[in-house]
């Protein structure tokens, strides 16, 4: 039985950070967050502690922004960075176990397969690479993403996610191209296009903004949500409405277009609820938001301002609490049904 009710959304706590938290993973059945930061470090932060403080990991870490982190075992995290490296970390010792030079350019995001055995990384070398989580061995790599935009500037490969059944991996780039791959073979099985998420300004400022920043499969793996922002007039700022497009990816059809009626900026992360009825999105411009939308109708169920631009969030097992990280803050949102007991676990949603 689900314990969540999006209409009950409220922020319950917020914590200040000296830097920008760019990614987060949560240790199961706890409030322990592992987040990557703009000061190149990985931190642990127990959001449910009485007086939580970020605690930096030790040892030789990253040399640039830490933009992806996943947990594949109770005590092991893997982080990715703009330095192109993947680092395996012992969570108890908070020390590195293994470092792999994974990509030639900036790693933008990581995802972990539902069985915890495979880690996917995407980077601006436009490659998606799958890694054996246990050994650090690269299993395969693939790309369907052009290194240059149609306007002859470097493109970026921002987003990656696994389907809940683990059979597929989706990757999304700056110009709105999505490719879906079979995890086990690396065979491309479909593509979809979301060009509205990419704004090229040919005249006023002559560069671009936007791109696919988030991907999420529905619980039955049939739908794929693609997040970013809409067409922007003044590309100095993220001034377009936050935007999610939902595709029946096997049919290659867009089935829903969700244009946020209140908040602007990027959809940095989104997740379907375990029933597949709603999708929660978060991101922002200078500020931030958390929004719930009905998947079938696209209508807003509820949404609220976040105290910061949100880069990523983690849901708890009951899917009624959201731990968001972003610009100089960590915030906790709850959306619990009245009679719900918070500790009772519903099936975990993919938080890739």
């Amino acid at each position: 039985m689900t314990t969540s009710d999006p209409t009950k959304l409220k922020m319950t706590k917020e914590f200040g950070l000296p830097n920008i938290a760019l990614c987060v993973a949560r240790v199961p059945n706890s409030g322990r967050l592992i987040f990557g930061s703009s000061d190149f470090k990985l931190y642990e932060f127990d959001a449910l502690a009485e007086k939580p403080q970020p605690v930096a990991f030790n040892g030789e870490g990253h040399q640039s922004y830490v933009t992806g982190v996943v947990l594949y075992a109770p005590n092991i995290a893997v982080s990715g960075s703009y330095d192109g490296k993947l680092i395996w970390w012992d969570l108890e010792k908070r020390e590195p176990i293994r470092t792999v030079s994974a990509h030639e350019l900036w790693i933008r995001r990581l995802a972990v397969s539902p069985d915890g055995k495979t880690i996917a990384s995407v980077a601006d070398d436009m490659q998606c690479k799958l890694w054996n989580a246990e050994t650090g061995e690269m299993l395969r790599q693939f790309s369907d993403h052009k290194p240059m935009t149609p306007h002859d500037f470097p493109s970026m490969l921002y987003a990656v996610t696994f389907s809940p059944d683990g059979k597929f991996v989706a990757t999304g780039d700056k110009v709105g191209h999505v490719a879906i791959w079979e995890t086990n073979s690396g065979t491309k099985v479909a593509t979809v296009e979301a060009p509205t998420l990419y704004t090229w300004d040919p005249r006023q400022r002559r560069h671009s903004i936007g791109g696919i920043r988030s991907l999420a499969f529905s619980p039955d793996s049939k739908l794929l949500a693609v997040g970013g922002t809409g067409q922007i007039g003044n590309i100095d700022h993220l001034e377009a409405s936050a935007r999610t497009e939902i595709f029946d990816w096997q049919a290659g059809q867009r089935v829903k277009e969700i244009v946020n009626d209140k908040f602007k900026g990027l959809v940095e992360h989104h997740v379907f609820d375990p029933s597949g009825r709603w999708i929660v999105s978060s991101g922002g411009d200078n500020g931030g938001f958390v929004s719930f939308h009905n998947v079938e109708t696209g209508k807003t169920l509820h949404q609220d301002k976040a105290p910061m631009h949100v880069h990523q969030f983690a849901l708890n097992e009951a899917c009624d609490t959201l731990f968001a990280v972003g610009h100089h803050k960590i915030a906790i949102f709850e959306f619990k049904a009245e009679a719900a007991k918070p500790a009772e676990a519903a099936p975990a949603a993919s938080t890739n």
Binding site: P18, N19, I20, S38, D39, F40, Q63, S64, Y65, Y82, D83, W106, D124, H151, D152, F153, P154, M156, R203, Q204, R205, R206, H207, S208, I209, G211, D236, H237, L238, D285, N286, H309, H327, H328
Partner: protein, 432 residues
């Protein structure tokens, strides 16, 4: 057109640079000497100095909106303000620049960096005006911009090519430039919508002979009118007409299709790259000052994404330009500059906001001590730690590198006006 009488812009009719300069030195627009050895004038030191000065050319790559010094010339990796990018070693010992500029890192032996500009004006309009003229606005004087100054100092009164060409295709922050009190003679040929000048072609309804006859008639009438009259306006009017044929003939200079495909490929497919190629064609033909504006660097929200794009464009296009100028023997006579109205500072949202207290400019080629790096900012780039330089100092440095005395004065009414601002000094550490 008579073969050899003017660089028509085609590769086939490319004028030997020395030949062009010789002709320019002779002051015979439209007729070129074969080479410099025919110039007896050069035996006289005063003339030689003048010719030497007038060989010089300037290409200003105007980084409109404020390119980030952190992502170009003054990286601060690992600092809270530094952003995600690493610093990379250049070929110049001890000088590191952003990893977004790898091609320029390999060419730092041609380039000097000034890292200590404090221009105090973080407003786009005010900052642009300051960095265009090298001084703050004065209600009593309409100052010329750098292009007009160089046009006046480096151009020839009888030049057949434009003295000052300004390309600014983007609309954001677009500024035409100003010749100020120097007058319309030194105003830029301004290209905004197209890369080829508009309205310079002879009307199809008029034959070339008719056009020349009309010009001759106009010249005759103008001379009669000017007899016993002394007026700067009449002189300027006549001078403008005398330049018409040259300006009309310059159209092909803007046509990069005249270049071999391999050369166009070196500059790349972006508009900025193509405009850099046009700039090279123009300075090769004798245009003293070309400004290529690359907008728009202002990025309050997505600074690092924006600089991933724009630095790649700058790095590639600037490198191609320097290589091309060098290969043609033009770099030692051509000063290539990069700066805009200011450089930005980090904001809390992965963007950067306006900032003019500690930022950078680069100078390459003519008169420049390649590999030099002047000035220093504090570890976070908030303030200048060593060698603070003003806009006037930068202008004094530019003028000195071109062999122009920055303290030379124009007389405006009874008022002496130095070329670079009062109290400004050239930064000798970056001069060859």
């Amino acid at each position: 057109m008579k073969p050899g009488s003017f660089f028509c812009g085609s590769a086939d009719h490319g004028v030997n640079r020395r030949g062009f300069l010789s002709a320019a030195a002779l002051g015979t627009a439209g007729t070129f000497a074969a080479d410099m050895t025919q110039l007896d004038l050069l035996r006289h030191s005063a003339w030689a100095d003048d010719v030497k000065k007038k060989e010089k050319r300037v290409i200003l790559l105007w980084l409109a909106g404020g390119a980030s010094q952190f992502e170009t010339w003054d990286p601060k990796p690992g600092r809270p303000t530094g952003g995600p990018f690493r610093a990379i070693q250049t070929v110049s010992s001890g000088v590191q620049i952003s990893e977004l500029m790898p091609k320029m890192a390999a060419r730092m032996n041609t380039t000097a960096i000034i890292r200590s500009l404090n221009t105090k004006n973080g407003d786009h309009g005010g900052g642009s005006s300051l960095m265009e003229t090298g001084r703050r606005k004065d209600p009593g004087i309409d100052y010329p911009d750098l292009g007009a100054l160089c046009a006046k100092e480096l151009g020839r009164i009888d030049s057949a090519v434009p003295d000052y060409v300004s390309l600014y295709s983007s609309t954001e922050g677009r500024r035409k430039g100003t010749s100020g009190f120097l007058g319309a003679r030194y105003a830029p040929m301004f290209l905004s919508e197209n890369m080829v000048p508009e309205n310079v072609r002879r009307l199809e309804t008029i034959s070339d002979i008719d056009h020349q006859d009309r010009a001759a008639l106009r010249d005759l009438l103008a001379k009669r009118f000017a007899q016993n009259r002394t007026s700067d306006v009449i002189g300027s009017h006549t001078n403008a007409y005398q330049r018409v044929r040259g300006l009309m003939a310059s159209e092909k200079l803007f046509d990069i299709e005249q270049e071999p495909e391999a050369m166009r490929a070196k500059y790349g497919p972006t508009q900025f790259g193509q405009q850099c190629l046009i700039a090279r064609r123009l300075v090769e033909a004798g245009v003293p000052f070309v400004k290529v504006a690359r907008a728009w660097w202002d990025s309050h929200g997505q600074n690092f994404e924006t600089h991933r794009e724009l630095c790649a464009d700058l790095d590639h296009s600037m490198s191609a330009l320097l290589d091309d100028l060098k290969d043609r023997g033009l770099l030692e006579h051509t000063l290539v500059l990069t700066f805009g109205e200011f450089g930005p500072q980090i904001n809390p949202s992965l963007g950067r906001d306006h900032f003019a207290s500690a930022w950078s400019a680069s100078l390459s080629g003519c008169g420049v001590k390649g590999g030099a790096c002047y000035g220093k900012t504090d570890p976070d780039g908030h303030t200048v730690a060593e060698g603070e330089a003003s806009a006037g100092d930068l202008f004094a440095t530019i003028l000195t590198s071109l062999g122009i005395d920055p303290h030379k004065e124009y007389t405006l009414g009874a008022r002496p006006v130095p070329l670079s601002d009062f109290g400004s000094k050239p930064i000798k550490e970056v001069l060859a």
